[in-house]
Amino acid sequence: MKRRSFIAGLATTAVVATVSACGSSSSTTGGSSAPAAGAKGGTLYILSGTATEHWDPQRVYVGVNIEYGNRLFTRTLVSWSTPANDTEVTKIVPDLATDTGKVSEDGKTWTFTLKDGVKWEDGSDITAEDVKYGISRTYAVDVITGGPNYAISFIDIPKAADGTSSYKGPYAKTGQDLYDKAVTVSGKTITFKLNQAVMDFNNTVTMTAFAPFKAAKDLGDKSNYAIFSSGPYKLDGDWTAEKGGSFVRNDSWDPATDTIRKAYPDKIVWDESLTPETLYERLIADQGTDKNAITYDNAPTTALGNVVNAKGRSSIVASPYTRYLVPNFKSKVMSNDKARQALALATDRSAYITAVGGPQVAVATNSLINPNLPAFPKTPLPAGEKGDPAKAKELLQASGLTLPVKISVTYRKRDDYDKAFSAMKVSWDAAGFNTELVAIPAKTYYGTLQAPESASKYDVYWAGWGADYPSASTDIPPLFDSRINITAGGPGQDYGYFDNADFNAKIDATNKIADMAAREKAWGDLDVELTSKYYACIPLVDEQFVFVHGGNVQGAFVNGTYTGYYDPATVSIKS
């Protein structure tokens, strides 16, 4: 998934393993052991400085919006259970479906059956046709933009000559018969025919892109913030971009059909007009309505020193994100193997850690894969946390390039990153580089990296990524498989234009491995090749999240397995 949050979980793989091993469904009872029931009533405030780009379920790709959308108004066939504390690993449980899905022996056919009594906010039934329609909207790629493409990748619909799907979505209707053959509805049951074995498809289906959508309510692009609820809350009035909105109870939601959501608060006010600095000052001060507030924004580095004042209502948890550097293979300097290796050797991760707030919020790593994933290869750092500029200089001198070697390094503009890169520049320059730093504002950061002109301007890029769900298949190919990324229009997510036929062949071989454990180990091996053979990726740190909530809030626990933020499903307000 896009650089923001994701699901990183360990035991989920155990569930996935069970499913794949027996090739049959596993039915689990509802949410995890919830804490003592909270008080009903009160108003929950969700404060943030991060604007929501989409609420349209097929366009949501940001972890926060997936989780919060799912918990408030976008139920899915299956979803994740709720944690009883910040570290509990949660599992996939039925949401709109009666169980967590039935899969065929070959892993290519999945079946889900809807529960009785699940209704839209206008009282009409949620049908299997609604689920089929919702997923079909992903195929209308020119209108429904921004969401994940797993439907297109996995569902068995032939491709057109230009590589795109032959089905163009429910608006154009071209190839509708092909979609109708692959996704079939019979009463309350929906069946998916996949083009490959996807043993963890029910994992994929937790993303809101696989949520139902009522055809009669579809306004195309205008549905972006037109929330039509299947969950315990519905939008009260309008949603204003960059400001937020309010939610009240959805009376059509039947709690008997929902084992996940407790829906304690009567009302939810979502305010995304703040800045992270201001909202953390308010949360720590804990006055007035801020006592009823939670946030999904990570504490900014400047607020960390004050978090100690929020005793008992703060959490430091592993985030699903890894930050890394990508050398630009199209630049003269970084196409030189020894130069890339020298850069990796001279990278001072301890300086980065200090700048972002210390070892509690960042852990040095030499793997792109998050430590919570089974594929994590535990690659040792080439020269310790501080790096070895002297050794790097020897390499650079042997590279054939003239010292000092001028390089241009980009990063997303942020005060603590200014310091991190200023400090790393000291080590790189000691190794014989002449580093120019280029801070690019957040709004245009990835767009700049993906613009073709950038390939001739910059040498090294900072980037961040988190797995979409607990498999490294959502780490390695999306970022380093040149075939699905590099086009005439730019590098896609392979920002450094890494293009290696051997590596691509190994990706294909890994996808074919049937045994999940062996497959994840193979992904781990590919990660090691990226970081220690090709130096196509220089991982920096695994970031930890720091959250604070108000003093009247109870039941706010971080669901690390499912996006890594406070899970609103169990939150209540003390009266």
């Binding site: 600095e277 000052e281 900014p300 580095t301 400047t302 607020a303 960390l304 020193g305 004050n306 978090v307 100690v308 301890s350 300086a351 200090t354 700048a355 972002v356 707030g357 210390g358 509690q360 919020v361 503009k413 005060d415 603590d416 200014d418 310091k419 890169f421 200023s422 400090a423 520049k425 000291v426 120019e436 730093l437 280029v438 801070a439 504002p441 301007k457």
Partner: protein, 325 residues
């Protein structure tokens, strides 16, 4: 005392010499303690800004080396009191990286004052030329230049700076073959200078309009003086007063603009220090590490104050309508 006859008075009298405007100004200034102190302070800051790069090369100050051992805990705050103040770090160290704040502040002064002074000079030069031409030419030329002046005045300077920054800096880098930091500085100087001239041109134009009908200009013209001679030898000497005052008053405004740009992320690229980037970072540490905000904040305040007071004092001293002493 003894009576003096008319003849003795005429022979031995002390010559009564009229004072030049400069001499009047100088004696007024000398009496104005506040302005003299501000003048001294302004010179002091300018000298500090000028020698900072030399001090850095000689390793007397070091604004770039991180000291991760001097910060720690959750948030990497400076260890020790007052934000890490010590014998080797007079203003403490920066959170998150441990660089010496004193070194960063005076190096930041170099960047900020260079941009502010050059932009001021640019505005003044351009404004003077346009103001003189406008005031003396009259007619269609004056009308056209006045409309252009108003047009430029109506542009929101800060928004233009933000919008143009990335594209123009890359252009400057390529055209002048310089690094990003000098390119950013050139960019800010040109854009700030370009948006500063209209106000000044109007002042100059006003002055010129009132001067051009005076007898000495008519005399020069009747003696056959060309336009260039009139502009530079007759009018300009009378314009130094507003030029000087405006230049000193636009300085603090330029410093503040550069600081604001740092806030908005359109400023000098790290690791080069500037007041904008320092304050932008330190304002968020106001509760956790207040000295990190107070030291640079107070320094900036003193710099801006000294230029403001100097400008005010100069304006009073140069005012021909003030009381004769």
């Amino acid at each position: 005392m003894a009576e003096v006859t008319m003849e003795e008075a005429r022979d031995g009298a002390v010559a009564i010499v009229g004072r030049t405007p400069w001499q009047i100004t100088r004696s007024r200034l000398r009496r104005d303690k506040v302005t003299m102190v501000s003048f001294g302070a302004a010179i002091f800051f300018i000298i500090l800004a000028a020698i900072a790069p030399i001090l850095t090369t000689l390793n007397v100050i070091d604004p770039y080396t991180p000291h991760s051992d001097l910060v720690g805990g959750l948030g990497s705050l400076p260890l020790g009191n007052l934000g890490g103040v010590s014998g080797s770090h007079w203003m403490g160290v920066e959170p998150g990286i441990g660089r010496d704040i004193f070194a960063r502040v005076i190096s930041g002064l170099t960047t900020s004052l260079t941009v502010a002074v050059c932009a001021a000079l640019f505005s003044v030069a351009l404004g003077t030329v346009i103001g003189i031409i406008s005031g003396t030419a009259g007619g269609k030329v004056d009308w056209l230049l006045s409309r252009i002046t108003e047009f430029v005045l109506s542009f929101p300077q800060t928004l233009m700076l933000i919008a143009l920054s990335t594209i123009v800096i890359d252009l400057v880098k390529a055209a002048l073959h310089v690094d990003r930091t000098p390119a950013s500085m050139v960019f800010m100087i040109v854009v700030m200078g370009f948006f500063g001239w209209p106000n000044f041109a109007r002042i100059i134009r006003g002055q010129v309009l009132s001067l051009r009908e005076r007898e000495f200009v008519e005399a020069a013209r009747s003696l056959g003086a060309g336009r260039g001679r009139i502009y530079f030898k007759e009018l300009l000497p009378h314009l130094w007063a507003p030029i000087l005052v405006y230049a000193t008053l636009i300085m603090p405004q330029n410093i503040a603009t550069e600081a604001a740009l740092g806030f908005l992320g359109v400023g000098i690229q790290a690791p080069t220090p500037s007041f904008g980037s320092i304050l932008n970072d330190s304002v968020h540490y106001a509760s956790a590490d207040p000295m990190y905000f107070i030291f640079p904040g107070v320094t900036l305040f003193l710099v801006v104050l000294s230029f403001n007071l100097l400008g005010d004092g100069l304006r009073d001293a140069l005012d021909p309508k003030a009381d004769r002493q």
